[in-house]
Amino acid sequence: MKNKGLGEFEELVLLAVCILDGGAYGVSVKREVEKHSGRSILLGAVHITLYRLQDKGLLESELGGNTGKRGDRRKRLFKITDMGMRQLQAAQDVRQRMWQLIPQLNPNMS
């Protein structure tokens, strides 16, 4: 299957994982995305997306670190892969290029 690019939510999740830099797991990703996007998200949606991204090879994960709050259960910490970074970059590039083509925003071009 060829990479079809990232969905909007996937992109948000990927970005959150990058921001959290090693501290990304279900709840923290949910909070990060909620904080920046200002909408409330179901935990399940985050998990489903995280695993989908992992299946696509954009994320990798390992179990580690717990807090008392979790009843001594470990977290699954997600980390972006090189391919993930490339995809994110590619998506950003596409946008960047297109932004630059919007005439209203670029008085120089007109």
Binding site: L42, G44, A45, H47, I48, N66, K69, R70, G71, R74
Partner: protein, 916 residues
């Protein structure tokens, strides 16, 4: 501990997750969920946190479910595909899916409620530590039928057991000392007004009571609380009532005695409120030592049958042997009593009848048929438990049948699918798996809906049944969940197996060729299942009609007295024995047309004694008796068939008695027809005890019901209220009955003002006398309370059964309409009218209903006949009720299939036939 409790996440959700989510995800999911849950708990509260926990969990379930339940090594994909196919076919046939799930939901919900009810009823008294070793000692019902058991014993039974039977670790007695109207108790305090209550649940218990029963003490020492003669143990709720938030231990309460004086008790223990599911219900226990003198004086009496005796047997005691052993007690110990009271030897007294002692296990007391009366709390009805248990099973069977029926009926729709799959190489085993899987899925969904339905409707059911059933605690109980889980699997398997075997047996070539006739093969079975369903439903309809009919019949029965508009004022005895002042005052009130005083009021005339007619060799008989004045009999409208009423002008009347016809008959003085030649008037009745007083019969009244109309009218004797030769002269409860003048008291506000006036009159005489009243017609009505309750619940369940059967019929009709679409189309083209088609189509089903009616009628007749034997006065088993029930079943069934018939009959034949 408390903290952990608060952080506990919903167990059912966790259980589901464990079942359906792959183990590798579980740890992190639970961790994440717990983390969010804790945050939400703090910020938004428990309800929100739990609710969102469920939402999140369900969301994860849908996202990650892999069905651990059925999972073997690598059939993950298989399961997914099975799930997909199930989902697709459910979606494609929405109508069937909805009918199926609805039917299952109703059926499972009904039987779940009934199951909760039965569990509730059968686990009374299970909270005592020694529950398996506690027995109540019952004796032969020496006042009535000696073959029955009687839950009360004389005080001496405990003494005898302690002395003669070492197998008992403890024996304790509890005595009902409050009269029928309750006991007046007050709390006197300096600052505030006195607090005064009437306590109904007030008993005297022996000091070792708490060695046997483990009621929870909040304060005080169970070992010594009832030791002191002034000791009193009250429940938490009672303490609040009298003392509010104050410290209670060591405070005093005063109990009003029969002679009007107040006796002081000191509170020596506070109990947690008595659990609802205890056959012993009390608010206040006083020490039995408080009546020590009376007890010592009368302890030898075996006929002071007001005590309940309980024994704790030693561990490992064989109850059979013990029961045998204690049979030697009555001949040895009761002989004194028969000699001193009845002047008979033990053998003369029993006259060959068995005076036995019985050991009744504690757990069986609440729900046993005999003895049906005891003073200390509620008794259950084993009959209800049996009836509802049977109904629960039946309704469940009905809904399973529904499910099977609908599943096979829609089989023809899936025949093509089966054919294609078989051609593609699907094995029969896979197909069977698929169908069973689907049916488990359906049952699971139905159960889930049913649990929700029960949760929401339980409050209503509790109000109806006057119970406190709860579902919530069970939801976290692994045993309950296990039962539910295995129930889903079992029911899904059973009801899925027939369609599975049947559907998977299709021959692909025939099916694909379009020989849909295969789909009709199961018709015989389906029809018989429909007949079965309707037989049950119709039988239930008939039964509930008869229950209603019997209830209406008994409430409209002529009692022989005038029970309407009679207001009864209680606690008159507290105004003193002479009540002429209050009587004159009330008689002057135009709201009352008649007024009379009595010492018991129907339907609660329970006292009775042993009497015989004067003359040699006359047999001793039991006769109910109560004291009243002549005015009371006038107020009742009692009809005199011989002699006259008490006359206040004749002083000697106070030693006369009035009998009813039945009493005259049992005394051997003949019936109404023989009064002319052999009048009972002027004859003498003799007390068969104590001083053998003679009393002259001055009048005979026509029999009237002085107890519930469940019973036949027994012999009755009315004693003059001022008869001072009678042993209970000046004691006991008394009542003033007032007949309301319907010209003055027209509506409820009039009634309220009349009640206020009466209360003020009583207050003026003595403000410490509590005001309470009742109406005679309501009292009679309330003797049928449990039957009325049963009637209502029966109606509800009958409705359930009918609805389920109709859902099934509706589904089958829809299926049949689909099948016969072309046939009906062709008939229409050939000239058949809509109405003709309607009849043709419906007749297929009405035939089934008629067969069901024929089967149901004798069944229902038998059931109704059995039930009616409980009543002394029975409504006739009329044919028209059967016809009415049959007719209504038919109408309901026709409505259920009407829509489908109409749809089928009104189709435009062009639409149907054009495909071919």
């Amino acid at each position: 501990m408390e903290k952990r409790e608060a952080h506990k996440t919903p167990a059912l959700a966790n259980w589901l997750a464990k079942r359906f989510i792959d183990r590798i995800y579980l740890e992190e999911f639970f961790g994440d969920l717990q983390e969010i849950y804790t945050d939400r708990l703090q910020s938004k509260g428990r309800f929100h946190a739990r609710f969102m926990y469920w939402i999140d969990m369900l969301h994860l379930l849908f996202g990650f479910s892999s069905f651990n339940l059925l999972k073997t090594q690598n059939n993950n994909i298989m399961i997914r595909s099975m799930f997909k196919i199930a989902w697709l076919s459910a979606i494609r046939q929405k109508q069937f899916t909805v009918l199926n799930i609805l039917g299952l939901t109703l059926g499972i919900a009904t039987s779940l409620i009934i199951g909760l009810y039965i569990h509730h009823e059968t686990t009374y008294d299970s909270f005592h530590t020694y529950e398996t070793r506690i027995y109540r000692i019952n004796q032969s019902s020496i006042w009535y039928d000696w073959n029955d058991q009687y839950a009360s014993t004389g005080p001496n039974v405990a003494v005898a057991l302690r002395e003669d039977v070492p197998e008992f670790e403890e024996v304790t007695r509890i005595l009902k000392i409050a009269g029928q109207g309750g006991q007046t108790i007050r709390h006197r305090s300096n600052q505030k007004k006195n607090k005064l209550f009437i306590e109904q649940r007030y008993f005297a218990a022996e000091e070792n009571f708490f060695n046997i029963f483990s009621f929870e003490f909040l304060q005080g020492d169970p070992k010594t609380a009832l030791k002191a003669p002034s000791g009193m143990v009250i429940t938490e709720e009672t303490a609040k009532r009298y003392f509010g938030q104050e410290e209670v231990m060591g405070k005093t309460l005063e109990v009003k005695q029969g002679d009007g004086s107040w006796k002081t008790f000191t509170i020596s223990g506070i109990l947690a409120n008595v659990p609802k599911r205890s056959h012993l219900q009390f608010d206040i226990l006083v020490s039995l030592n408080s009546i020590k003198e009376r007890l010592q004086e009368h302890e030898w009496r075996w006929v002071w049958t007001a005590f309940s005796t309980y024994g704790l047997v030693k561990e490992g005691t064989d109850i059979q042997t013990l029961t045998e052993k204690i049979q030697s007690i009555p001949p040895k110990w009761a002989a004194t009593t028969t000699k001193r009271i009845f002047n008979q030897t033990f053998d003369e007294f029993t006259a060959g009848k068995p005076w036995r002692l019985y050991l009744q296990p504690l757990r069986e007391i609440y729900l046993s048929e005999t003895p049906d009366q005891h003073y200390f709390g509620p008794t259950g009805s084993p009959q209800f438990v049996q009836i509802f248990g049977a109904i629960g099973v039946l309704v469940l069977v009905l809904s399973c049948i529904n499910f099977m029926n609908l599943s096979t009926a829609r089989s023809s729709n899936r025949a093509k699918e089966v054919g294609i799959r078989k051609v593609m190489g699907s094995e029969r085993k896979t197909l069977i798996k698929q169908f069973i899987f689907e049916s488990i899925l359906f049952v699971g969904a139905g159960t889930l809906c049913a649990v929700l339905l029960v949760q929401f409707s339980l409050k209503g059911f509790n109000a109806l049944a006057e119970k406190q059933l709860t579902l919530m605690p069970y939801l976290t109980d692994p045993i309950f969940l296990g039962i539910i889980g295995s129930f889903v699997l079992l029911l899904g398997f059973v009801s899925g197996s027939y369609p599975a075997l049947y559907l998977s047996s299709f021959k692909p070539i025939q099916v694909l060729k379009g020989k849909m006739s295969a789909g009709f093969k199961g018709k015989g079975i389906r029809n018989s299942l429909v007949i079965f369903q309707f037989t049950i439903s119709i039988a239930l309809i008939i039964c509930s009609f008869f229950v209603q009919k019997q209830l209406t019949y008994t409430s409209s029965l002529d009692l022989g007295i005038d029970k309407d508009n009679i207001l009864q004022i209680h606690h008159i005895e507290q105004l003193g024995f002479d009540t002429e002042i209050i009587k004159t005052k009330l008689a002057a009130n135009p709201a009352f047309s008649q007024i009379g005083k009595s010492f018991a009021i129907p339907p609660n005339i329970w006292d009775g004694e042993r009497y015989r007619a004067s003359g040699p060799e006359s047999p001793v008989v039991d006769i109910s008796n109560f004291r009243a004045e002549g005015d009371y009999l006038n107020l009742l409208g009692a009809e005199f068939v011989a002699g006259r009423n008490f006359d206040p002008e004749r002083i000697n009347d106070k030693y006369g008695v009035i009998l009813n016809e039945e009493a005259v008959k049992v005394l051997g003085w003949g019936t109404r027809e023989t009064y002319d030649t052999n009048s009972p008037i002027g004859k003498f009745v003799i007390q068969a005890f104590d001083n053998e007083e003679k009393m002259e019969v001055i009048g005979v009244v026509k029999d009237f019901n002085f107890n519930s109309v469940k019973e036949k009218i027994g012999p009755l004797m009315v004693i003059h209220h001022q008869n001072d030769l009678w042993y209970n002269y000046g004691r006991g409860r008394s009542y003033l009955s007032l007949q309301l003048n319907s010209e003055v008291v027209k509506n409820t506000s009039d009634l309220q003002s009349v009640l206020d006036q009466v209360r003020d009159e009583i207050r003026q005489i003595d403000p410490s006398v509590p005001f309470s009243y009742s109406f005679m017609d309501q009292e009679f009505e309330s003797t049928f309370r449990s039957e009325q309750r049963m009637g209502t619940i029966l109606n509800l369940f009958t409705a359930m059964a009918v609805i389920i059967a109709c859902l099934g019929l509706f589904g089958l009709a829809a299926f049949s309409a689909e099948q016969r679409m072309k046939e009906l189309g062709i008939r229409k083209v050939l000239g058949a009218g809509t109405s003709a088609l309607l009849v043709l189509f419906s007749s297929e089903f009405t035939r089934l209903i008629f067969i069901a009616i024929l089967l149901a009628s004798p069944m229902a007749y038998f059931l109704v006949d059995t039930w009616l034997t409980n009543f002394a006065y029975r409504t006739p088993i009329d044919l028209w009720v059967f016809m009415l029930a049959a007719f209504s079943a038919l109408v309901i069934a026709l409505v259920a299939i009407g829509y489908q018939s109409l749809k089928a009959a009104c189709q435009n034949p062009v639409e149907i036939l054009k495909d071919e």
